[in-house]
Symmetry: C2
Subunit: 194 residues, 2 copies
């Protein structure tokens, strides 16, 4: 099992960083090969720009994008970890998708419409929210993320199976609940890698 | 009427740029005061980073964010123009929201929950999609954008009214339809500024 972990939080002391540590510990238990992409530490450029488009249209690929695509090709499983900001992941994650999941790499168009090219790869998404479960249910936030982000991106590109877990209310909850969540995260990864 | 136009497309020759021109022409007709934020030309930094958070937590505000907040305070209407990439706007727009729509500026928490602070300001969102109307309806893309982006961001922050128009199938359609869309865009802006 080769796992590519994509991590997106600006604060290395954050609860998201504790989740990353828990995921890495669990992957170690499963003797998976692991590559971690810490997008903030990499200073990832999220802006799909004119020079990117010009290179891609002329048959090339910007070097930083090509490197990520090579790692995704290598991986059996993509594990994304980040906070929910404004009902979706941070801009740096959107910009990873915008730039790396390019036409001809992640998807193509056929006579039958869009076809994902990531078949055979799993996706595991773990997020945190300030909103608790009741608040999130009342607003429809989680359904919006499932439809507008997880299905739109990982579903369209053919990742299967796709597993999603959100840790609710992480700002207001107790340390005990937060510690419990880390155990749940490990179990979640274990169950969804098999 | 003071209108702040936020524009997000990397290519100055794009159809989105033609939409921007149409919107500016219509705003000129309405003798509105206009400020345009061309996010790619501004080289806007979309990554809400650790140093941003540290400044904000200690009562300060990064200079580039403060400048945008001043322009939003100035405006009666915010007009956002950009393409749909992966069922939402580009990362550079998400990063404008992540950084500029900060706690205490765009929203706050009260005993009754989240409260938007943008009451009295209109929002007008104009997007383009490669997907045609039938394809978009089949996948639920437009509903996902309305719920997960427009309501999540502009609704939560109290903008009212909020108007949304998507120009469908702009890649495959004819120049005639594209020209017609530009007239529709002008009418849409005119009707929603009043």
């Amino acid at each position: 099992m080769k796992a590519l972990v994509i991590f997106a939080h600006p604060n290395p002391q954050s609860y998201n960083a504790a989740i990353l540590d828990a995921v890495k510990a669990e992957l170690g238990q499963q003797t998976a090969e692991v590559r971690v992409k810490d997008l903030y530490r990499m200073n990832w450029n999220p802006n799909l720009g004119l020079s990117d488009l010009q290179q891609i249209y002329s048959g090339g690929m910007p070097e930083d994008i090509a490197r990520e695509q090579a790692d995704i090709r290598w991986a059996d499983a993509l594990i994304l970890i980040g906070p929910i900001w404004w009902w979706t992941l941070p801009a740096i994650v959107k910009g990873y998708i915008d730039r790396v999941f390019s036409y001809g790499f992640a998807y193509e168009f056929t006579e039958k419409g869009l076809r994902g090219l990531m078949a055979g790869k799993r996706a595991i998404v773990i997020t945190t929210s300030g909103a608790d479960e009741k608040g999130a249910a009342a607003t429809g936030m989680i359904d919006a993320i499932k439809t507008g982000f997880i299905n739109a991106v990982f579903g369209s590109c053919g990742f299967t199976p796709i597993a999603y877990k959100n840790c609710f209310g992480v700002v207001e909850t107790s340390d005990e609940v937060r510690r419990h969540y880390l155990e749940e995260v490990k179990e979640f990864v274990r169950n969804n890698l098999a």
